[in-house]
Amino acid sequence: MKINNRVDRTVLVKLGQKTITVLTMSLILVLVAGLLTACGTETEVITSPEQLNREDAKIGVATDAPEFALVEERFPKAEVVYTQDLIAAFTSVAQGKMDAYVGNKLNMELAIYNGLQGVRLLDGTIGEGNVSAVAISPRTEIPDLKGKINEFLKQVKEDGTLDDMRSRWIDKRDMAMPTILEAKDPQLNLVVGTTGLSEPFTCYVNGELAGYDVELAKRFASWLGASIEFKLYDYSGIVPAAQGGDVDCVFANLYVTPEREKALEFSNPTFIVDIGVMVRDTGSQNGGGIAAFFSSVKESFEKTFLTEDRWLLFVGGIVTTLLITVLAIILGTLIGFAVYMVCRNGNRAANAITRFCIWLIEGMPVVVLLMILYYVLFERVNLSGVTVSVMAFTLIFAAAVFNMLKAGVATVGKGQMEAAYSLGYTDTKAFFNIMLPQALRHVMPTYKAQIKALIKATAVVGYVAVQDLTKMGDIVRSRTYEAFFPLIAIAVVYFILAAILIWIVNKIEVRAIPGRRPNGDDQKKG
């Protein structure tokens, strides 16, 4: 019997080549992206808000933020652009994609203080400021949560704790999180929604959640005698999450707006946020030359990975991404295979149900499926975002595996089964000993392509409060205010993770599937 050792070596050589390709590609990407950000174009220098009231001006505001009305009123001629997160907004202003951004002045000041370049703030504030408060889920099971929060807020205001917090987080920009006593023998568990995306209210410091709102939440839990658990969302996802009862309340510097008040209850104000205007700073743009470019690259690298051990966040994200992907691959393969086995002999009901499910799963965008599972189907069930993500991607992968098997078996043809039957094989034995080894040969290339697609597709799990690799990149970007390094790093990591998974699958393939591979050098033997 022939067993090919050559395949192992080929795989290794291929992997080596792949790694080199990946590294070269990422290097080119890094250089091109760096050069692009270093260039800039000249525009009119803006010194007062009134200059922005012109027809070709684009002014950014955060999605669902009360600033929208303010901008409409103050700059009726300008076009309003919605931005997903702060870092995207700031980068857009710095790159000239937007003329200005109107929003939380504290966020902006802190960003510039922390080294955000290419932007500056206009003097003063506009409007009366935004009221932010704690949002309370209508579905919380903690009785009179709103009353308790208000009582707590009153108390911390009176005893000076709130002032102290304000002075530390806001005035002194001291990002150290004080130790807050955890409740002993907690009778309750308080689930708090936050974003981790709005410095200095809720953000990651030294790999831990910190900030004004986070401290307030911890103090409240301690005061309430409850244990505390944080869940992370985007600003666009946090209101639906609270509405659906995934969290008891939201401590995330969330502004009180009329729309939100329809969905959620709000406590008394926790903070009044000044509204500032950020514009592009053309003066600070510099050509700088190669040396300056490399030193800025070095600085970015340090900020992105080394400061506060931020690489640990990436590691955490990688672990989560891998966990979801690997579980989805294993479970999806098993389920897809099991369903195929049930449908194989043409059971009509099973086939009809399967066809319907696959039609449903494949018909909608991955992120929609994920959110339907999380926010609609399992709304009342307390399942973690990771669990729901694994479920969603398992379904997607199972559907793919089912289709692959079907196509693979069809390619091999009925004659092989008939030959096996006529030699005395039972149906099951013929399938496993004769049909499957041949079908898998056709399936494997698609299977590997699906794995690559899957690992990339998992980047949307941030929508359901999972901190995967992409989400961690967002979190780091929200501290460093740089798109460049985190994004490139994430891209490279995805390449590497995919290469590793494919390498493992290749290993298993060589071991598990007997006989000849359909393509490869070993075909020439004779």
Binding site: G415, L423, P437
Partner: protein, 361 residues
């Protein structure tokens, strides 16, 4: 022994088997012949239960294998099947193809399976191909491996489903000789085939299938030389006599030549004789009868007689008298006359086909 009792197989739109009755004794070598679409393949696929009969019974050694709850794999272990399309396992090489089922089904140790495999490969003349994969073999070699694979399971009955139909004419011989060799081993064999001479040479019984059943069952001599029933007679005659009508200038002459080729190989006509037949046919139709073909349909008959090794080509047609010696293309007529044994023209104004040209080769 296999008994077929009122066997029936119906599909939604057709019924290839309506009522099949037969007793197949141990050691019988039976050729199943008949026009296409008369259920020959369906019959042997039913015997092997690859197709489930819709009615009737198949009794194998006293057991009804169509009975509900009967484990058909038991019956299949007594029977081997050789397919038209070989169906070798594509992921295994030649020797593995022969070993696999021995190991999986008969639980033979690898060494024994290998020894059996090599013995059978020697028997079909393919020891040198032991480690080749099926796609590296010619059609004839694949079919010989498939036969070896079937034999490795020690079947009592071997079913051949048109074993040489998918082969190049040059490879038919090697497979036939392997099957001929098997016919002397007391194994029961059922062979669906279109190769009549081959069928005649190796079998002791012939099933002529038509009208949804075994229309005539007899010895080869009876069925081929002295058929008892009408349809059999017509079928056998069609094997010996090739007839077609050239119905105008648009007739597919090249297609007719292919048919003649098929007829020649079916009747074991030597390639020299075949060349002469082709030449005569061409001279006749392309040149001599060209003016006639444009006017009236011409009926062509080709008949080969084994004893004298003669082939007679007859062209008959209506209309006014047309003697190629007088009216036709002179040059072609002279060429034809010089190559054939005899060439004659007959005119009978009273007959339906007034002109008859006979060429004896």
């Amino acid at each position: 022994m296999i008994e077929l009792v009122h066997l029936e197989k119906r599909y939604e739109n057709s019924a290839p088997l309506v009522d099949v009755n037969a007793v197949i004794n141990d050691g019988d070598v039976i050729s199943i012949i008949g026009p296409s679409g008369t259920g020959k393949s369906t019959l042997i696929r039913c015997i092997n239960m690859l197709e489930r009969p819709t009615g009737g019974r198949i009794i194998l050694d006293g057991v009804d294998i169509c009975a509900p709850g009967y484990d058909v794999t038991k019956a299949r272990r007594k029977m081997g099947m050789v397919f038209q399309s070989f169906n070798l396992f594509g992921h295994l090489n030649v020797i593995e193809n022969i070993m696999q089922a021995q190991i999986d089904i008969l639980k033979r140790p690898k060494s024994e399976a290998y020894a059996t495999g090599m013995k059978l490969l020697r028997r079909v003349g393919l020891t040198s191909r032991e480690t080749n994969y099926p796609d590296e073999l010619s059609g004839g070699q694949k079919q010989r491996v498939a036969i070896a694979r079937t034999l490795a399971m020690d079947p009592e009955v071997i079913l051949f489903d048109e074993p040489t139909s998918a082969l190049d004419p040059t490879m038919v011989g090697e497979v036939q000789s392997v099957i001929r060799d098997l016919a002397n081993t007391e194994k029961t064999m059922l062979i669906v085939t279109h190769e009549m001479n081959f069928a005649r040479a190796i079998c002791n019984r012939v099933f002529y299938m038509d009208q949804g059943g075994i229309y005539e069952d007899g010895t080869p001599d009876q069925v081929f030389d002295n058929p008892q029933r009408d349809r059999t007679r017509r079928f056998v005659r069609r094997l010996k006599v090739l007839e077609f009508t050239i119905d105008g200038p648009d007739f597919d002459l090249a297609g007719a030549e292919t048919e003649i080729g098929g007829y020649c190989s079916q009747n074991d006509i030597s390639s020299r004789a075949k060349y002469r037949i082709d030449l005569t046919f061409e001279e006749l139709t392309y040149h001599i009868l060209q003016p006639v073909i444009e006017r009236v349909p011409v009926q062509i008959t080709i008949e080969y007689t084994e004893e004298e090794e003669n082939t007679e080509i007859t062209a008959s047609f209506g209309g006014e008298k047309f003697d190629p010696a007088e009216n036709g293309d002179d040059f072609s007529y002279i060429v034809l006359q010089s190559t054939v044994k005899s060439l004659s023209h007959h005119y009978d104004p009273k007959a339906e086909q007034t002109n008859t040209i006979r060429v004896l080769i």
